[in-house]
């Protein structure tokens, strides 16, 4: 019985299926808001689902000379890690006592897997543009990971040195969210920009630049493999804001969480629509020098208890 319950958790709720369906709905919100910003009408609500069904119908081509295993490992990596992350995030939000020591670290690792999958898949494609995209993805990953980790360190500091995710959520439920302090606001700003980069949205869509390197690491993917990449992106669009709400804004236990989620997503979309793409060196400088120092200021303030 327990085994069936675990399978249900991983594949249906709150794992793969639930996250994928809600995430695809959020990608529709993304496209619709983008369209409204550009004064267009935008696609109907079923558009992401239609895209997904169509990609399942299409032929999947493996480029000549590419390593088949590595080529398919790229998308699968991201999908599996995001499903596990979904289960962990939601169960620990609803019942914080399930948390085990160090699960925050596990979550950081799981969040690192999708970009690694993209890098593996892109390098295995045997396409020069895909290699350029993969190398940019790698640089960008190193760029945004520094402020991200400083933020996590600050949150651990604010919660009294615990690396238990459930405990962080529980402490906020008792003492009020971490966001309502100076250092909390600084961490929220840093985290928002890191989410933007993790999702590959516009100021930081350098690896998949459609106009210059034709979708970068994704260039050789078609059919089912491309569908898996799309679904992973959609799941990340749900999970990253949920992660942010859980560690900074009081967890997703109540109905307010839906409003918070929508607010964060609309903010991300607006940043996406009002900025031009950066160069990779500019992105590196932005994350390491500007956001890094900003996050360290937050860390010092958190140490002072502000």
């Amino acid at each position: 019985m327990n085994f069936i319950r675990i399978l249900f958790n991983y594949f249906i709720f709150p794992g793969f299926l639930f996250t994928a369906i809600v995430g695809m709905f959020l990608t529709w919100i993304d496209r619709k808001v983008t369209a409204r910003v550009q004064m267009r009408v935008g696609p109907p609500w079923y558009q992401p689902y239609a895209d997904f069904m169509k990609l399942l119908l299409k032929e999947t081509i493996i480029p000549e000379g590419a390593s088949k295993t590595l080529f398919f490992m790229g998308p699968i990596f991201g999908l599996i890690s995001m499903s596990i992350l979904a289960v962990m995030l939601f169960t620990m939000n609803f019942s914080p006592e399930n948390s085990f020591a160090g699960d925050l670290i596990v979550m950081i690792y799981l969040l690192a897997l999708p970009p690694i999958g993209v890098i593996i898949g892109g390098s295995a494609s045997k396409n020069p543009l895909a290699s350029v995209g993969a190398s940019r993805e790698m640089t960008q990953y190193f760029a945004y990971e520094l402020p991200f980790l400083i933020t996590i360190a600050g949150i651990v500091l604010k919660s009294g040195g615990t690396i238990k995710f459930g405990e962080i959520v529980y402490l906020q439920r008792v003492n009020g969210p971490f966001l309502y302090s100076i250092s909390g606001i600084i961490f929220a700003i840093v985290f928002l920009l890191v989410i933007q980069a993790k999702l590959g949205f516009v100021p930081f869509d350098i690896p998949e630049a459609e106009q210059e390197i034709m979708a970068g690491p994704y260039i050789e993917y078609s059919g089912v493999a491309l569908a898996i990449y799309k679904i992973t992106k959609a799941m990340m669009l749900l999970l990253l804001p949920v992660f942010m709400i859980s560690i900074l804004w009081g967890g997703v236990g109540d109905w307010w969480a839906i409003l918070k989620l929508l607010l964060i997503i609309v903010l991300i979309i607006l940043i996406k629509n009002t900025n031009p793409r950066l160069r990779i060196d500019q992105a590196l400088k932005f994350f390491w020098i500007f956001l890094g120092i900003f996050a360290i200021i937050g860390l010092v303030l958190a140490m002072k208890g502000l």
């Binding site: 496209r31 369209a35 550009q38 004064m39 267009r40 009408v41 935008g42 696609p43 109907p44 079923y46 558009q47 689902y49 239609a50 895209d51 997904f52 069904m53 169509k54 990609l55 399942l56 119908l57 299409k58 032929e59 999947t60 081509i61 459609e210 106009q211 034709m214 979708a215 994704y218 260039i219 050789e220 993917y221 078609s222 059919g223 491309l226």
Partner: protein
Amino acid sequence: MGDFKLWGLKKSPWVFHVAAASCNNCDIEILDVLTPKWDVERFGIVLVGSPRHADALLITGVLNRKSLPRVLRVYEQTPKPCLVIGVGTCTCHCHMFEKSYNVVGPYDRHIPVDVFIPGCPPKPEAIIMGVVKALKRLG
């Protein structure tokens, strides 16, 4: 299930733009279709950067000795099922370039074209109607 997937294909054709040797007018008209005024994203049509992601190829311009191998290559790289839509009079027959020494004739002699959209250049409305007609042919 098959019907459902076909519904997906009809509702979200991603197009790739192949400029085989056009005088640029047809290309501009294709870009017009993507502007807010006509907004084809309403129908799920998105311009993609790689032929691997494409469901429909919008081909413009007259086919000549230099561009024929490239066009064939792009067609082979596109995952099937895919549609081929010829935009402009140049693709229907050879237009005013007919007598030219390096023109290798109309498209349907070389690759299967689903619809031709005549006009020099065709209006954006005509291009949208052509894509819709091509989708209707899918059944």
